[in-house]
Amino acid sequence: MRFDFAELPGDRTSLVRPVLPVQVEDLDDAVQLCLVDTGATTNRFGVWVADATGIDLRGAPESTVVVGGLQTTARHARADLTIAGVRYDAPVTFCDPWPFAFNLLGQEGFLRFFRVTLCAAEWWLDVDPAEALRRAGSAG
């Protein structure tokens, strides 16, 4: 499935970023536009997403991570994500504080589940479920 990059207003010109619409759990009224970050080890979302979707983080494993120069508390949990029409159970790290514009899609929880083709020259990315996720979907 193909998605266009997003254009963000910049100081001098548009800034174009690879983003994907992600439904978290059953929050279908408010799809989250997430940044594809090939350098991120895990999916990193703001903690407000867990609050909004009723993901209970009490007792979740916790660590301190640094993202974009900011130290933040990360709670590690799982969430149902729907991307490119496929719903799957993914590891997600919920961070507090999270002052960033976008939630991040990273290695664990996204890239490991999909075949992703980026074409920054033409501002699109193709996202298709990897074979393992396809098999899991058809088995379910």
Partner: protein, 170 residues
């Protein structure tokens, strides 16, 4: 019914359903400062840099039911107070690639988002901003209250190039 009312500089006096009102421009701005705009239909008025349905503004500042007056009357009162009122432009179907260097929407998406730097937004389509607010919780509450869907997505428009590039805001 609303009568034509009287207008001094920056003050509007008018009657709705037998009740008299006197509005000042500053009073209107203060009344809607913390209020998110409802979905726009044909007309809007600009208050505090945001577009509101005219009837929402008058209802908010007077406490009247919106059924008690018309959009036309609400517009007229607000225009006389110096607010810009206009008709919403029809939604334009996007044809990507108009400007080769500006991105997949020819710069139109960036232009549509530019007024909302630093705000959380929900979009129904790449250039159709449904709501903008200070927090994601406000955006979610607005979507639920108005039964609208951010099909394209919600996120916070970066306030600066540095933020868009992934650096934490100062």
């Amino acid at each position: 019914m609303i009568n034509n009312g009287e207008y001094d500089l920056g003050i509007a006096r008018f009657t709705i359903g037998g009740e008299q009102f006197e509005l000042e421009r500053e009073l209107v701005e203060e009344a809607v400062r913390q209020v998110l705009p409802d979905p726009l239909r044909d007309h809007y008025v600009v208050v505090g840099g945001r577009r509101y349905p005219p009837k929402q503004v008058i209802a908010c500042v007077t406490g009247l039911d919106r059924a008690d007056f018309t959009t036309h009357h609400a517009r007229r009162i607000l225009k006389r107070l110096g607010f810009v009122a206009a008709r919403s432009a029809p939604h334009v179907v996007e044809e990507p690639g108009e400007r080769a260097d500006a991105g997949p929407y020819g710069g139109r998406q960036a232009a549509a988002l530019a007024p909302y730097r630093g705000k959380w937004v929900a979009l129904a389509a790449p250039t159709e901003v449904l709501v903008a607010a200070e927090t994601p919780e406000e955006v979610l509450a607005w979507l639920a209250r108005h039964e609208r869907r951010a099909s394209y997505g919600m996120f916070r428009v970066p306030a600066s190039d540095r933020e868009a590039e992934g650096v934490a805001p100062v």
